[in-house]
């Protein structure tokens, strides 16, 4: 193997284990956001067997509304602690998203509940386009930078000076997701509304005969999912520091993949799928460059060795392929285990 010059200079390199831990931390953070969004998909699917394609846009609206509130509060120079600003922004984003979710169900999905499957799918695409372009008009075409109100503090996870760290934002995102998932599970399994939701999911006609207002339950499901999406939007905006009118699309797709990975219609599955997908993505993006580095093959070809002397990172696939992993996972799951990890078989029904 050819000599691989260390291009990282004098800086001490992190041990391999540290890199792995770092990728895991990043992956779990990302996965928590996916899981929260995936819950929205899976709840709606569980109840009316419909894939709410426009769910990602609700996340986007949440991030955008929160951006506006944060920017306004920061601009007003009120004596508020940063965390309070963030909480206020989230509390504004939640009702906004709930309103969007409610309207969506009422206008585009309810009239089509008995229509062929293609119809609600196409209205969802239409809604997605409408919401994106409305956001473009209301906010901006360019990415909106979130004001950096929270001072990022990194905590070392290992004794190495250059080792793995976790930031306070990451801790916040992971903890908040766990709390929200717990709350949702309590809601679904311990309250009257939860019983009604599960009843409608099992058999909506019979549930109706038992005196459950089906339309109300379905509306509430959309509203709850949208509320979760709002929080996910704020998390995503705070974590990456930007909001963009197209951010919901790819996030929504990945969250959907997560829901399918876990088994769509299954709450625990969505959480598991989200976390797994986040970790897969982080590990994939982190290691695919090294794994497909052609310089490992330098011994086989002299021309390759020459090129590697100039640039030791001659990877076929780099981290720019990050978005591909979610889709590959999605396709593999649907082909080999359409029911997902925890779900029952649904692909035929779909």
């Amino acid at each position: 193997m050819a000599q691989r010059p260390d291009n990282r200079g004098a800086e001490p390199t992190a041990p391999i284990v540290d890199t792995l831990i770092q990728q895991l931390v990043n992956g779990i953070t990302l996965g928590s956001v996916y899981a929260i969004v995936a819950l929205g998909y899976t709840m709606v699917y569980g109840i009316i067997q419909l894939i709410n394609f426009a769910h990602g846009e609700v996340v986007m609206i949440g991030a955008m509304v929160a951006y506006t509130v944060i920017a306004a509060l920061v601009g007003a120079h009120l004596p508020l602690p940063p965390l309070a600003i963030l909480v206020i922004a989230t509390l504004c984003a939640i009702p906004a998203c709930m309103a969007v979710g409610f309207t969506m169900e009422r206008v585009a999905y309810r009239p089509l509940r008995r229509a062929p499957r293609l119809a609600p799918l196409i209205t969802a695409i239409g809604l997605s386009i409408i919401l994106q372009n409305l956001a473009l008009i209301i906010w901006s075409r360019s990415p909106l930078p979130y004001p950096q109100i929270i001072d990022t503090v990194s905590y070392h996870l290992t004794p190495h000076a250059n080792g793995a760290t976790i930031t306070n934002v990451q801790v916040g995102i992971i903890c908040l997701s766990i709390v929200m998932m717990g709350a949702l599970l309590l809601l679904v399994y311990r309250t009257k509304l939860g019983i009604a939701m599960r009843a409608v999911a099992q058999n909506s006609q019979v549930a109706g005969l038992m005196g459950i207002d089906i339309n109300r339950v379905i509306s509430l499901t959309f509203v709850i999912g949208s509320g979760l999406a709002a929080v996910a939007g704020v998390m995503d905006g705070t974590y990456y520091g930007v909001a963009h009118y197209q951010m919901g699309f790819i996030l929504g797709l990945k969250a959907f993949s997560a829901a399918v990975l876990g088994g769509i219609g299954n709450l625990g599955g969505a959480m598991l799928g989200g976390l797994l997908l986040g970790v897969i993505e982080a590990l994939g993006a982190g290691y695919v460059g090294d794994l497909t580095n052609l310089c490992h093959l330098s011994g086989w070809s002299s021309s390759l060795a020459q090129r590697c002397a100039d640039d030791p990172h001659l990877a076929v696939f780099g981290s720019n392929y990050q978005d591909v992993f979610a889709f590959i996972v999605l396709i593999l799951v649907l082909v080999f285990r359409p029911s997902g990890l925890l779900g029952e078989r649904v692909a035929d029904r779909a």
Binding site: A119, G126, Y321
Partner: protein, 359 residues
């Protein structure tokens, strides 16, 4: 089709009508060229969209398999042409060699997509195909290192136009005292291909294969019980749809002279799907109407939305492009709510209705 063309009872009238349409189509580019050459180019693109919509109609309309990544095949065809007829690799093959190659490769990709997704239905299929489309686009965007295949986001430039011996489609010539500009040449070429494609589609629809697709769309289990090999038929639908897309992509490459992954984004897939849906899934003429409508309306908007806003509000409040997308989203929703079968509903439904009234 019979129901639309009641003229058929009067063959003379029918021929006269056809002749009128033919004359109009032949004269069209000259009329448009008077308004502005841009409109001839727009018409050419509209015809390309007709190809795409017709190709997708085979998959979605005939066989009932929802495909949201269709633009990937267009991209494959376009890149095959661009790579084999541009300075990128110094290759300059003639177009009649490349177009079939592009169609073939797109067809292979179609089967590659179709094979693992045979068991999936409805919205699951839609999302897998969407993922597939995105994967192809991400690859086109990133296959510039370590070996420069697609030139990444910069795209490929200086793509050869169509050329038959000395006759190039890119130059302006004087033929029989008339100036024959490049878009007009392409127009006649595309029009001829479009006619062929429409005839193929009409014949397909009424063939044994077309009826098999229809049966699969209506009830897959019943179709299998009737002895239809559903696996092969579905794969055939994917393959044929994809190869139409591939051919259209090659022509797009040659016409534009420049392509980049930007042209093959999801919105384009959705646009083509909307053409099929708005026009009337499964109806060849409906799909053509849908494609033409969705190609021209945005262009008309482009020239009207800005000035109208200027006149009424004194400034451009909404970008024409954004306005177009808003209208487009709204059209999708309203169409599904109020006229789910499309502008010209498929012949099947017409036939069913007629059969019922006759009883």
């Amino acid at each position: 089709m019979r129901s639309y063309f009641e003229l058929r009872r009067h063959p003379g009238l029918e021929w006269a009508g056809l002749a009128l349409v033919a004359v109009a189509l032949i004269a069209l580019p000259w009329v448009l060229a008077d308004i502005g050459t841009a409109w001839v180019r727009i018409t050419n693109l509209a015809i390309l969209y007709c190809f795409l919509a017709l190709g997708l109609n085979i998959v979605v309309g005939f066989a009932g398999l929802l495909d949201l990544g269709y633009i990937a095949f267009y991209g494959v065809g376009a890149y095959v042409y661009a790579l084999l007829a541009s300075p990128q690799f110094g290759l300059h093959l003639p177009f009649w060699v490349i177009l079939p190659l592009g169609a073939g490769l797109a067809c292979i990709f179609g089967v590659l997509l179709g094979a693992p997704t045979l068991k999936l239905r409805g919205d699951y299929l839609a999302i897998v195909t969407l993922g597939f489309g995105e994967i192809i686009r991400i690859f086109l965007n990133n296959l510039s290192s370590p070996f420069n295949l697609t030139n990444g986001p910069q795209g490929i430039t200086l793509i050869d136009p169509f050329r038959i011996d000395g006759f190039s489609f890119a130059t302006t010539q004087r033929v029989l005292g008339q100036t024959l500009s490049s878009p007009i040449k392409y127009y006649y070429f595309l029009l001829a291909v479009l006619l062929v494609v429409i005839v193929i589609n009409l014949r397909l629809q009424n063939s044994r294969i077309g009826r098999a697709w229809e049966a699969i769309r209506e009830d897959e289990i019943a179709a299998r019980a009737m002895g239809i090999n559903t696996r092969n038929m579905k794969l055939l639908a994917y393959a044929m749809g994809a190869s139409f897309g591939g051919v259209a992509g090659g022509m797009f490459s040659a016409m534009q002279g420049f392509i980049s992954p930007e042209s093959f984004v999801l919105v384009e897939s959705i646009m083509v799907l909307s053409m099929v849906v708005l026009g009337g899934m499964g109806n060849v003429f409906g799909v053509v109407v849908g494609a033409l409508l969705l190609s021209y309306v945005p262009e008309v908007l482009r020239y009207t939305v800005g000035p109208v806003q200027q006149a009424v509000l004194g400034r451009t409040l909404i970008d024409p492009e954004v306005f177009r997308m808003l209208l487009f989203g709204l059209a999708l929703v309203l169409m599904m709510l109020f006229r789910p079968a499309g502008i010209l509903p498929s012949a099947l439904r017409k036939r069913e209705l007629q059969a019922r009234t006759r009883e």
